[in-house]
């Protein structure tokens, strides 16, 4: 198998590694995979952490190692977290944004921290929403309420 083949198998496998805190969303969807290097059977994956203190980083690393070890042709896997480039919410891919909505989480309206932003309700698409809490069940999420369809929902906090 050529290195190019292995590279594409590795990328496909990474797309199956899900965020431990948002099931249904892969590390690729999140824009966390910065670089994949294949040298013979040795694979080096460079990831960008979403939040400095995200407690799921250790799980993600272990999940990547486990998933890639099962790819035929892979002999060893090294996973590194980079300090640069910075992860910002505009790294979430278009497919990632759709997948977030599918699990009831509004994708970010943009990137860069801000006091006020208006996400679209992931259930009905309305922007008649109000924020209940800047903070939510994980570092990256806030809690909103949709005044149109009367559902509470979570939203990715712009960073």
């Amino acid at each position: 198998m050529s290195e190019a083949d292995l590279q594409s198998r590795v990328m496909a496998a990474l797309d199956e590694v899900m965020d431990p805190e948002i099931r249904g969303l892969s590390l690729v969807d999140l824009g966390m995979v910065e670089r994949v290097e294949v040298d013979g059977g040795q694979v080096r994956v460079q990831l960008i952490p979403t939040y400095v203190g995200c407690p799921a980083l250790g799980l993600m690393k272990a999940d990547v190692e486990r998933r890639l070890a099962a790819v035929p042709g892979v002999e060893s896997v090294t996973v590194e977290f980079l300090r640069k480039p910075l992860w910002t919410t505009d790294r979430i891919t278009p497919r990632g944004r759709e997948r977030l909505k599918a699990v009831g989480i509004a994708p970010p309206a943009g990137s860069g921290p801000t006091e006020h932003w208006t996400p679209e309700c992931p259930y009905c698409g309305s922007t008649q929403v109000h924020r209940e809490n800047v903070f939510g069940p994980t570092s990256c999420r806030s809690i909103f309420y949709c005044d149109a369809c009367r559902n509470p929902f979570e939203a990715i906090k712009p960073v």
Partner: protein
């Protein structure tokens, strides 16, 4: 003044004794401030005024603990030992947190009859986030590139921490007489300790001259506090005296040793345990 070259790796930093010493000193101060104040925050879990605040405050303290960890990891790369060990296994005199960070939340403990002071907590967390913003902005201009990169990332997260406490400051000042009285008392107590936050300790000159930080934090911090006093109708800070026991030189208040003992209790039983 000629600009000193950037230091891009831990090995380069270790090759310059003066720079290394100054960098290590600053990293301990910043990491210990975040860790210890986050622990004081964590003691409020389940005791804050309402459930949304529990979600917010615990999320902020989790971020702060994560920031401390990232700074301890920089220290680990610089040869100081394992990050967990640095957080939990040092003697109290090795901690460099400002005395403000270690002050108890009030009377009692979270395990036994907590009679905590919410006004003091709001003011302390707010004032801490003010200095932390200034410190991160300075760190972005640090000669040590790994620290500059990390600080840039932390700033984006810390935006929401400061904003959260600004909302509380607005809500609790200029309203009822009792709230104003309690906030003024808390403000006065926090201001007495505030110089400990901007102090860079006995190594301040070296931290600045080596370019670990590009400027002193005291002046911008005092200006920020004067602005806060005006916005929230609180007394202006007048005297600015570093408390005799301020934490930056390793001398701490009696509150720190029992706090560390409690924090590290589980880790010390099984340092090799995986969590």
């Amino acid at each position: 003044m000629t600009a000193l070259p950037r230091v891009t790796t831990a090995d380069q930093a270790r090759a310059d004794a003066g720079f290394h010493r100054a960098l290590v000193e600053l990293l301990y101060q910043a990491a210990d401030d975040d860790l210890i104040l986050a622990q004081r925050g964590a003691e409020w879990l389940g005791l804050v005024p309402h459930i949304e605040e529990d979600v917010a405050f615990s999320s902020i303290t989790q971020d702060m603990t994560g920031h401390a960890l990232a700074l301890y990891q920089l220290l680990e790369e610089l040869g100081e030992g394992q990050a967990d060990h640095l957080a939990y296994f040092r003697e109290p005199s090795a901690y460099r947190c400002a005395v403000l960070a270690e002050r108890p939340n009030g009377e009692g403990t979270y395990l036994d009859s907590p009679r905590f002071d919410w006004a003091y907590t709001v003011v302390r967390q707010y004032v801490y986030q003010r200095i932390k913003r200034l410190r991160l902005e300075a760190m972005v201009k640090s000669r040590y590139q790994p620290l500059a990169d990390l600080a840039e990332k932390m700033l984006r997260e810390q935006f929401y921490h400061l904003y959260h406490w600004e909302v509380w400051m607005k809500q609790l000042t200029g309203r009822t007489e009792e709230a104003q009285r309690r906030m003024t008392e808390a403000w006065t107590r926090v201001l007495a300790d505030a110089p400990s936050l901007s102090s860079l300790g006995p190594g301040e000159q070296e931290i600045l001259s080596s370019g670990v930080l590009p400027w002193s934090l005291e002046k911008p911090f005092r200006q920020a506090l004067e602005e806060s006093a005006r916005s929230y109708g609180l007394p202006a800070p007048n005297a600015w005296a570093l408390p005799e026991v301020n934490g930056r030189d390793g001398r701490h208040s009696p509150a720190l040793p029992p706090m560390l003992e409690h924090m590290a209790e589980v880790y010390r039983i099984a340092p090799a345990g995986a969590w």
